[in-house]
Amino acid sequence: MRVEGKGRIDRGAPLRFTFDGHTHTGFEGDTLASALMADGVRLMGRSFKYHRPRGVTTAGSEEPNALVTIGSGARQDPNIRATTQELYDGLEARSQNRWPSLGFDVMGINDLAAPFLGAGFYYKTFMWPKAFWEKLYEPVIRRAAGIGALSGEAPGDKHEKAFAFCDVLVIGGGAAGLMAALAAARSGAQVILCEEDRACGGRLLAEVEEVDGQPGADWAAALEQQLRDMENVRVMTRCSVTGAYDQGTYGALERVAHHVGDPKGAPVECFWRIHAKRAVLCAGALERPIAFRDNDRPGVMMAGAMRAYLNRWGVVPGKALAVFGNNDNAHRTARDLQEAGVHVAALIDSRADAPNLAGDVPYYAGAQVSRAFGRQGLEAIQIRLPNGKVERLQVQGLGVSGGWNPSVHLSCHMNTRPVWDDGIAAFVPGKDAVPGMSVAGAARGRFSTAACLQDGAEAGQVAASALGFVAEVPQVPEAEDAPYRLRRLWTVPGKGRAWLDFQNDVTVKDVTQAAQENFRSVEHMKRYTTQGMAPDQGKNSNIGALAVLADATGRDIPETGTTTYRPPFVPVSIAAIGAGAEGKGYAPERFTTSHDASVSAKAPMIEAGLWYRPSYVPRDGEKTWRQSCDREVAMVREHVGICDVSTLGKIELQGPDVGQFLDFIYVNGFSSLKPGKVRYGLMLREDGTVMDDGTCARLDDNTWLMTTTTAAAGQVMTHLDWAQQAFCNKLQMRFVSATEQWAQFAVAGPKSRDLLNALLDAPIDDASLPYMGCVSVTVGGIAARLFRISFSGEHAYEIAVPARYGASLFDHLVALAEERGGGAYGMEALNVLRIEKGFVTHAEINGTATAFDLGYGRMISPKKDCIGKVMAARPGLVGEGRQQLVGLRPVSAIKEMPAGAHLFDDGAEPVRENDQGYVTSTCFSPTLGEVRALALVRNGRARHGEVLRLVDHLRGVDMRCEVTDPVAFDPEGGRLRG
């Protein structure tokens, strides 16, 4: 319900929204939680395991209970904390983890079964029979447990990621953070101030107190504006810093448009990577509960949160309220409620000697709340008086305070453990926990506003000064400076279940039981009970659970230690972290200059790395890919074909020492290659296996052009960088990738020279351009490079022009080819042509194959060293035991020889122990009129003529084939040279 005259909401701006289909009205400035509380809604969710009714517990991002789903369809966003979701007109929210409704949840039966579902129940109950785990137990548990669900659709909202840089990053815009930012900003340093909330101020927005003679929230708003007006300051509100990483890198999640109904094209969230030379952590502190019987009833909340709802949003959870605490700070809640005219039924302080600081309210010193009543909402509490008697009090809301825990999280992200401070009974950040980061204010246990202001101002000054800026500590305004006094109280003893971790349903008894079962290490206890493993990561429960564990194991808290704090501080959606990396952002498309022509010709495009290449180029009347492919192969063998080979890596090398460098890179010699000549080369990894192959042309004395396979272009470039910089840095040479600068086309077939002579400005012949030669030519006045090389076994060329002429040249070449009975061919035909010739690709260069295996052992020059040479010669990489490249032809009625099929001795059982090798590539050869394949077969070169059994267990093929030479067509190579 609303409290008149309270809150910083705009009562002139009503906003309509729905919760579980019911329409409600809130105001501008409300969160979903405050607006629901205003309408008397206390039940907001069901718990993870027992499906217990739960209500809002906090007023911040640490909220464990009030998790809802926002939106629907592709825009469905689950597990949104109602406490941070700003209200907007038209907001649709739904409760989670309940069926059929929030008020009546069938799975609430779990709560009755609680005796069987305690700590470690997964490990005890579902052990047997083993087969039931996957089929029965796990699906049932997964359906019953859990929180919100994803829609299953692609995200309907845009997400973004961005980088930012600054001198000083201030994390948190409360009293300390504002002063830290001001101190650093005045020195001229570039400052980023990140504040999780919609506005700066922190606790000042939730308290009744004055700073510099004005309401704290007004003072904060004015200073925020002052900072925003400085051009060296960037104030980022709605931005949670989620992690501290190496070398001053911080992750941050900005809710750019999560608080509006229509993002108008803006991303809902942006994930920032902020690099800061210095950072000041001013993350404040989080209030912790006290565990007592049924302390999870809706209406029981943190005392500080109750105060925030009253002072900031003008709402309370009921007509009669009570406050229970172990420290002075809790008294403020009773005082503020009382002053606002709300009925305070009791202020209960567990300390017998604590004076009442709340004014005229019923005060119970030395008493404890020992039980809460009411299932779907708090109806009454039971107070245990100092004399042992109990009293029952009707209330609808109870504020609880067990003290405050500094938000040390980010200070622990680089593995420094926090340090126990006995004075405040809490952990504070360890010294120099994150290089370049200091901690100020409540985050290091300075709890009064005055202390926070002073501490922040000094930390900001120190951070800027450390970077060489002339910084001064600004004048610190006057503010509240009350001492923080508490006497520790973690649990109220008694029967029944007292809750520690609301989000994962862990009770005091669960932790005690874990200790009894010898899960005494805090990390073991955590995993056994699941305490702290829910989305809130134990922000509300860790210290309480630690204290219970310490007590149960007879140790103190520092000795018990904490679990590891890991990023992110608040949940971050994968969509935000991975923004831009889905779809084409994940795998960009690379198109050749002939792409449009291929697409116009209705060629199906297939991926080759990031490139797209035509699979085949269909003609009228062709119904299957095989018809097109067979026709294209015949076209190349009989006439002339055109194929875009621009995707092959092209690396241009220049300098007098390139030959010497290539001798070190390739297994065969290159320094002897004459200008105008091309040579096939094979390069190894240092472990002796083949890395890549390709041709390398010497264009003139000092200019060379290496080609790589399409797949390995990047790898080869990195490899050349390595070899040159690590081992050849005295050589006079440089190289650069030229893959995208040149469009290159294969012109293959008996009529290729005839075609080229119709194209080139000056004709060529065998004398001017013999096999494995290269020349500079001109095409219509354009300088081009012409290589006489072949990947088809035919008389063939590759012609290269600057990429801007590629599309035009391709069209021209195809037209000339079609005049001669040929045309464009695609990847399928290219593959058939090379299999017929026994040329290898990365199907054969498979990462384990050596030069010896591929039949190229003799290429390794004995006259020089090269990368991989020594290891290629070691025992085990050569010899009869190796699988060697062979050809296969069918000899049984079944002709199919699928790639991936395995080979066995004829008559042998087709099991792994008898494996002789496998098929690497296969095709129907229209030239030879039968299926042909390449394979790697144990000792294969000595087995030509032998018949093997070929079995493909996946496709159900079992046939017999003959081992042949890999070169099935024109073994003498007469057609190449012709």
């Binding site: 190496d246 990577r273 290089p435 470039m717 960088d721 910089q725 690590a726 040479k869 070691r874």
Partner: protein, 88 residues
């Protein structure tokens, strides 16, 4: 994590690729024998403390770098160009 490339200045880790131990720079003589080559290719220290790695600035200048860093504190002590070594 950030590295300061001697050519390009301080850059985000996404521009670099880790490429293994810097001992790959100590390539044995071809005649050094199988034990030396085996150690060079396969045997690596796994120190808790200072380590020297190779990184490739593939999304920058293409330089191979020797990075001296601490596996415990994650401090980066030095970034040097492989090419600046006195070798080859």
């Amino acid at each position: 994590m950030r590295l300061t490339c001697p050519n390009c200045g301080e850059r985000d880790i996404r521009e670099f690729t880790y490429q293994g131990a810097a001992s790959m720079l100590d390539r044995p003589d071809p005649e050094a024998g199988p034990e030396a080559w085996h150690a060079y290719l396969h045997l690596r220290d796994n120190p808790a403390g200072v380590t020297r790695d190779l990184w490739h600035h593939g999304c920058g200048c293409g330089a191979w770098l020797v990075v001296t860093r601490d596996t415990v504190t994650h401090a980066v002590h030095a970034v040097e160009l492989v090419e600046a070594r006195d070798a080859g």
